[in-house]
C-alpha cells in the first residue's frame, strides 16, 4: 500500500504536469488525503466546499487502515505547514457544519492563519436546505478540481486542467459563499 500511495501521488503529478485535460479517480480517504497533500504542495489558492474540513483534522486519520496512518497524517501536516508558511497562499473553505477548530492539523498555525485571514472558513446558513444534496468539491489554482460523489467513503473524481468544469464549479462556489453566515 505504501507503494500505492507514492504511485498515486506520482500519477497526480504526471496529470498535473501534462497540462492536458485528464481525470484521476480518488476511491477512498487515503487517496483523499494524498490529493489534498498534492494540492497543498503545488497550488497557492484553494477553495473547498466540504462538511467540516475533515481532511485537515487529526481524527480523520484515526480510522484509516491499510497504510501507516500516522505517517500519512504527518506528511499532510507537513504539506499544510509549508502551505501556510508561503506568503502568497490562501485557503477558503465553505463548510456545511460549523464547529470547533481545536482538532486541526498544525493546530496553532491553523488558528493563527484563520485569525490573519490566510485561511477563511465560512459555515453555511442552517436554513440552506440544498447543502445536503450538493456534492463536496475542491478547486485549486483553477487547474485542479476534486469533486466527491461518495460522501461516506470520500470517493471522488480529480479533474486536471478542465477549464469548463472549473469555471462551473467556481460559479457554484460563489453561489454557496453567498449563503455563508460569516
Amino acid at each position: 500500500m505504501k507503494n500505492d500511495v507514492m504511485d498515486y501521488y506520482q500519477e497526480l503529478n504526471v496529470a498535473y504536469d501534462s497540462k492536458k485535460v485528464s481525470i484521476c479517480f480518488n476511491p477512498d480517504k487515503i487517496h483523499n488525503a494524498i490529493v489534498m497533500q498534492f494540492i497543498l504542495d503545488h497550488c497557492s489558492e484553494v477553495k473547498m466546499y466540504c462538511k467540516h474540513m475533515s481532511v485537515f483534522r487529526k481524527h480523520f486519520y484515526d480510522n484509516i487502515e491499510d497504510v501507516d496512518s500516522k505517517k500519512l497524517k504527518e506528511s499532510v501536516e507537513h504539506s499544510l505547514d509549508a502551505f501556510l508558511n508561503k506568503p502568497e497562499t490562501k485557503l477558503t473553505v465553505i463548510t456545511v457544519e460549523g464547529g470547533e477548530y481545536d482538532d486541526f492539523l498544525c493546530g496553532e498555525k491553523m488558528k493563527c492563519s484563520i485569525s490573519n485571514g490566510k485561511v477563511n472558513i465560512h459555515p453555511l446558513a442552517n436554513d440552506f436546505a440544498p447543502k445536503e444534496i450538493i456534492n463536496h468539491f475542491t478547486i485549486a489554482d483553477n487547474s485542479i478540481l476534486r469533486f466527491e460523489n461518495d460522501i461516506v467513503n470520500h470517493g471522488a473524481l480529480c479533474s486536471f486542467h478542465n477549464q469548463t468544469m472549473i469555471k462551473n464549479f467556481n460559479s457554484y462556489f460563489k453561489t454557496l459563499l453567498s449563503y455563508a453566515t460569516i
Partner: protein, 381 residues
C-alpha cells in the same frame, strides 16, 4: 399670449395638506434604516421567497438518475472491478462518470439562487433613490406653488416650467424602473451588461472621464440641436394637424433628450451603489432644463409664427396637479414597494418552474450521456 390659460391663481390649493402628508410618509423611506418600512417589507419578501426557493431546491430528487442500472454499473466498473479492465477502458469510464456527475451538479445548482443577487437595496439603489427624488420633487412643487401665488403675472411661465419638469421627472423614473426590470431579466438569465462595449458606451465613458462642464456643454448642444430640429419640422409640416405638430415639437424638446441621455447613461452605469450626488445633479439639471426650454420656446415664438401653435394650453391646472399627485404616490411609495415584490415573485416562479421541470430537463440533459454509458457497457460484454 400666455403659455397656459390658467383660471386659478392657486396651484395646489386644498391639496397642500395631502401632499404634505405624503411627504411626511415618503421622508421615512429615503434612508435604508429601521424606519424605512419599504426596505423592511422588501427584506421580509426576500426572506420569505428565499425560504420558499430553498424548500423547492431541497425537494429536488436526483435518485431517478442515480438509481439507474447504467449509473450503478458504471460506478461499479470504476470503484470495484477497475482492475479487470485496461487503462483505456478505465479512462473512458472515468470520463463518462465525470460527465454525468458534473451534469447532476449542474442540475442542482440550476435551482439554487445566488442570495447576494437578491433584488433588495444592495442591488437596487432605486428603492431609496425614488422616495428621495420624490421628496425633492414635492419641495420643488411647494416652491412653485408659493411662487405662483406670489407672482401672479408669471403664473403661466411658472406652470409651464413645472409642467416640463414633471414630464422630465416621469420620463426619468420611467427609464430607471424599466432598467430595474431589465436588470432582473439579466439576473434571471445569468447575463450581464457590464461588459457591453458599444459606441454609445465608449462615448459616455469618454464623457464621464472628462469634466462636468464639458459634459454639460455636450448635453446642451445636443438639446439645442434637437429643439431646432423639432422647430424646423414643425415649420416644414405647418399644414398638418396642430396636435401632431405639438407632439413632434415636444417630443424633440423633452422626450428625445431624456431618452437619449437617460437610456445611454443607464446602459453604461450599472448602478450597484447609491449615488445621491448624481440624483441631485439630475434634479437640478431638470429644473434648469425646464426653465431653458420654456425660455427657448418663447424666444422661438418671436421669430417663427408657427411656434405659437405649440403652446401648452389648458383651461385648468387640474391635469398637471393630478399628474404630479400620481407621480408622487407611485414613484415615492407604490413602485419602490410593489416592483421588488413583483420581481421576487418572478424569480420565485422562475425557480419553481425550473425545479418542477428538473426531472424533464435532467432527462433531456442526461439522456445522451446515458446512451453513451449504455454503449460503453455493451462494448465490455
Amino acid at each position: 399670449m400666455s403659455f397656459l390659460v390658467v383660471l386659478l391663481t392657486e396651484f395646489l390649493g386644498y391639496s397642500q395638506t395631502f401632499v404634505g402628508t405624503l411627504a411626511a410618509i415618503i421622508v421615512l423611506c429615503i434612508l435604508a434604516g429601521d424606519s424605512n418600512f419599504i426596505i423592511k417589507a422588501i427584506e421580509k419578501f426576500a426572506i420569505s421567497f428565499q425560504k420558499e426557493i430553498n424548500e423547492i431546491t431541497s425537494r429536488v430528487d436526483l435518485k431517478v438518475f442515480t438509481d439507474k442500472e447504467e449509473y450503478k454499473r458504471l460506478k461499479e466498473i470504476i470503484t470495484v472491478s477497475h482492475n479487470q479492465y485496461s487503462a483505456d477502458i478505465h479512462d473512458n469510464a472515468l470520463t463518462l462518470w465525470t460527465k454525468i456527475n458534473a451534469k447532476l451538479q449542474e442540475l442542482i445548482f440550476e435551482t439554487v439562487t445566488n442570495k447576494k443577487k437578491k433584488i433588495g437595496n444592495d442591488f437596487s439603489p432605486e428603492i431609496t433613490n425614488a422616495p428621495l427624488y420624490t421628496l425633492l420633487y414635492i419641495i420643488v412643487l411647494f416652491v412653485f406653488d408659493e411662487a405662483i401665488y406670489v407672482y401672479e403675472d408669471y403664473e403661466d411661465l411658472l406652470i409651464s416650467v413645472l409642467f416640463v419638469f414633471t414630464i422630465l421627472s416621469i420620463l426619468y423614473w420611467l427609464i430607471k424602473w424599466l432598467f430595474y426590470v431589465g436588470r432582473l431579466r439579466r439576473y434571471i438569465h445569468g447575463t450581464s451588461n457590464e461588459d457591453a462595449d458599444t459606441i454609445i458606451n465608449k462615448f459616455f465613458s469618454f464623457l464621464s472621464k472628462k469634466n462636468l462642464c464639458l459634459s454639460l456643454l455636450i448635453h446642451l448642444v445636443v438639446v439645442v440641436i434637437l429643439v431646432i430640429v423639432g422647430a424646423f419640422l414643425c415649420c416644414l409640416f405647418h399644414d398638418i394637424n396642430v396636435s401632431i405638430r405639438m407632439i413632434i415639437f415636444w417630443s424633440f424638446a423633452i422626450l428625445f433628450p431624456v431618452v437619449l441621455f437617460g437610456l445611454s447613461r443607464e446602459c453604461i452605469t450599472f448602478e450597484r451603489k447609491r449615488k445621491i450626488n448624481i440624483l441631485l445633479f439630475h434634479l437640478v439639471l431638470f429644473i434648469i432644463y425646464s426653465i431653458a426650454i420654456i425660455v427657448l420656446h418663447k424666444g422661438c415664438t418671436c421669430f417663427i409664427d408657427d411656434m405659437k401653435d405649440m403652446y401648452l394650453v389648458y383651461n385648468t391646472t387640474y391635469p398637471l396637479k393630478l399628474t404630479a399627485m400620481l407621480f408622487i404616490i407611485f414613484n415615492g411609495l407604490i413602485i419602490p414597494l410593489a416592483l421588488p415584490y413583483l420581481c421576487f415573485k418572478v424569480i420565485y416562479t422562475n425557480y419553481a418552474r425550473r425545479a418542477s421541470q428538473i426531472g424533464k430537463r435532467g432527462k433531456k440533459m442526461l439522456q445522451p450521456i446515458f446512451n453513451q454509458i449504455n454503449d460503453f457497457i455493451k462494448s465490455l460484454e
